[in-house]
């Protein structure tokens, strides 16, 4: 039971990454490698600030802002500098590694004896692992509501159109470069915030904690899509969170088969590859239109 609670809690906390990556991977339609750097960047920022006595909530917000700066740099390299997006992301990711070491002053920084978002009287009164479920749930609800609001504004629609057809977007006066930079900033801000949450939950930040992050974030998006089929945009955002939780369950099952935690990245990659390959087998299994999902909203609003 406690294993399941723990998996749900982890799934909720990590879902922030899936939602962040959704903005670039599904809406802007490109893979942003920056996230491998911004995740530990957010973790390092928050942990270093809390370590020096800052309020955990404030430190988490700072992580968000620092992540936005990383996204801004990738965005500028890509749009104004015309560097291919994969390379722009890898550049910032690589640079972030050194920045993270600078921020923490060492490769690993513990929050032992320090406060965190997960340490207060109310959370302590909950049964084991329910603290991460509670915090994760609050964060995910707030983030999802804000995203749904944003995507249904005129600005959000211009953002979606930019990913869907940039030529058309420009021809109706949408500043596509600005939309792309904005998307990268919000996305990386969210992923840095995810890093801050996960680090506080783990009780430490590690400079290597970003490796394989993009695969985990992609897994929650793809698993959500494979599991829930054709959905409206709002439903798709919820599906990312459910996908993230499902992914934790799959990991839980796999780890029960006596794999070591060192095998985690291999397993994550295999799980994601299987999910990505599913549509190729749809003739056999009738998985119709599972991955070629759209940002289309079936309902009117």
């Amino acid at each position: 039971m406690s294993l399941i609670t723990s998996a749900i809690g982890q799934g909720l906390l990590w879902a922030v990454l899936g939602l962040g990556l959704f903005l670039t991977f599904r809406i802007l339609d490109f893979p942003d490698m920056t996230v491998e750097g911004t995740f530990p960047l957010g973790a390092a920022t928050a942990v270093a600030l809390i370590y020096r006595g800052m309020n955990p909530l404030l430190a988490t917000l700072c992580a968000f802002l620092v992540g936005m700066v990383a996204g801004l740099i990738t965005g500028l390299l890509y749009t104004k500098g015309r560097i291919p997006i994969l390379l722009a992301g890898i550049l910032v990711m690589t640079a972030a590694y050194s920045v993270n070491l600078r921020i923490m002053g060492r490769a690993n920084l513990s929050l032992l004896g320090k406060s965190s978002l997960f340490k207060n009287d109310f959370l302590a009164s909950l049964p084991q692992y329910f603290d991460s479920v509670f915090v994760g749930l609050v964060v995910i609800i707030v983030v999802t509501l804000l995203l749904v609001f944003f995507l249904n504004t005129n600005l959000g629609q211009a953002f979606i159109a930019t990913g869907d057809n940039p030529t058309m977007a420009r021809s109706i006066g949408i500043k596509t470069d600005r939309m792309t930079i904005m998307g990268l900033m919000i996305s990386n801000g969210m992923i840095a915030m995810g890093g801050a949450l996960v680090a506080q939950n783990n009780g430490y930040a590690d400079v290597n904690m970003g490796i394989g992050i993009i695969v985990i974030a992609l897994a929650s998006i793809i698993i959500g899509e494979v599991a829930f089929g054709d959905l409206s945009l709002t439903q798709r955002l919820v599906a990312v969170t459910l996908g993230s939780i499902l992914y934790r369950f799959v990991l839980l099952i796999v780890l029960q088969l006596n794999f070591s935690a060192n095998d985690l990245n291999l397993l994550s990659a295999i799980i994601l590859a299987i999910c990505l390959l599913l549509p190729r087998f749809r003739k056999f299994f009738h998985f119709d239109r599972l991955i070629e999902r759209s940002v289309r909203d079936e309902r009117n609003n």
Binding site: F149, N152, L155, A161, G173, N300
Partner: protein, 273 residues
């Protein structure tokens, strides 16, 4: 037929147009490709064009004559290397493509270019209704526009009004191009550029869209330049016809004189080029 005499004749025939202030002027516009190399070529070569409000100009010209380049220079996708582009007498030469959308709308030949495939028909119409405007953090309010969009779509006579909540990617080519056209005209732009917008469609659908185009331009008194390869369309529609050759306007007729022009005359003119 001589271009210069025609131009002079027009000034007298269309005295009313001459007194109007021009909407758009291109003055000695040249565009150079492969500048400073042995292959340096001018696509537009000292082109002059004055467009008056409510002009509906059909643009003819063989491949490579510079028709698309002309549209790109007006639309801001390409900057004129020499000369100037004026709107209401003010230079817009330095304005970006996005900035120019506040007065300009464009329909491309390829139906795929004009619409966002994963967004619905209604969402596309809503996006285009904000052409050239600021797009803020304000709820989009799609629902309150649905009746208006339904009425607008029904003027295209191709069942588009019943597919408002369909993703644009699953429309037929004709419906998709009709939507592109609606998106271009719904905010009543000061200048409409149609770049062979019916060329990718079958004859019947093409005819349907052309009729709807003409009706809409007449009803809203839109100023329009339309590139076409169909001599019939160039003759039948619009109040003015220009022919581009080697980056210059070599033929320019309007009003009565355009009405008198026959397909044979036009065809012979092309033969002589």
């Amino acid at each position: 037929m001589n271009a210069t005499t025609n131009a002079t004749a027009n000034e007298t025939v269309n005295a009313d147009t001459a007194t109007k202030t021009p909407l758009l002027e291109l003055k000695d516009v040249s565009t150079v490709v492969n500048a400073h190399t042995a292959n340096e070529t001018k696509i537009l070569n000292g082109l002059n064009l004055t467009v008056y409000p409510s002009d509906f100009i059909t643009v003819l010209g063989s491949n490579g004559a510079g028709k698309s380049t002309l549209f790109n220079v007006i639309g801001g996708n390409l900057n004129a290397d020499e000369g100037d582009v004026l709107l209401h007498g003010k230079s817009i030469k330095r304005e970006s493509e996005e900035q120019r959308t506040r007065f300009l709308a464009r329909v491309f030949q390829d139906p795929k270019l004009g619409t966002a495939p994963r967004m619905t028909v209604a969402e596309n119409l809503l996006l285009a209704s904000k052409r050239g405007q600021r797009r803020g953090l304000v709820p989009r309010g799609l629902r309150k526009h649905l009746d208006e969009y339904k009425a607008m779509a029904s003027t295209m006579n191709n069942n588009l009004e019943n597919r408002l909540n369909t993703a644009t990617g699953s429309l037929s080519g004709g419906q998709r191009q009709a939507l592109s056209f609606l998106m271009a005209v719904e905010s009543k732009p000061e200048l409409l550029l149609l770049d062979e917008h019916t060329a990718a469609l079958d004859p019947k659908t093409s005819q349907q869209l052309m009729t709807a185009t003409n009706d809409r331009i007449a009803a809203d008194h839109l100023t329009c330049l339309m590139i076409t390869h169909r001599l019939e369309d160039a003759l039948k529609y619009g109040n003015r016809l220009i022919v581009l050759n080697a980056g210059k306007i070599t033929f320019d007729v309007r009003g009565e004189e355009k009405k008198q022009l026959t397909r044979e005359q036009l065809f012979n003119f092309f033969e002589d080029l």
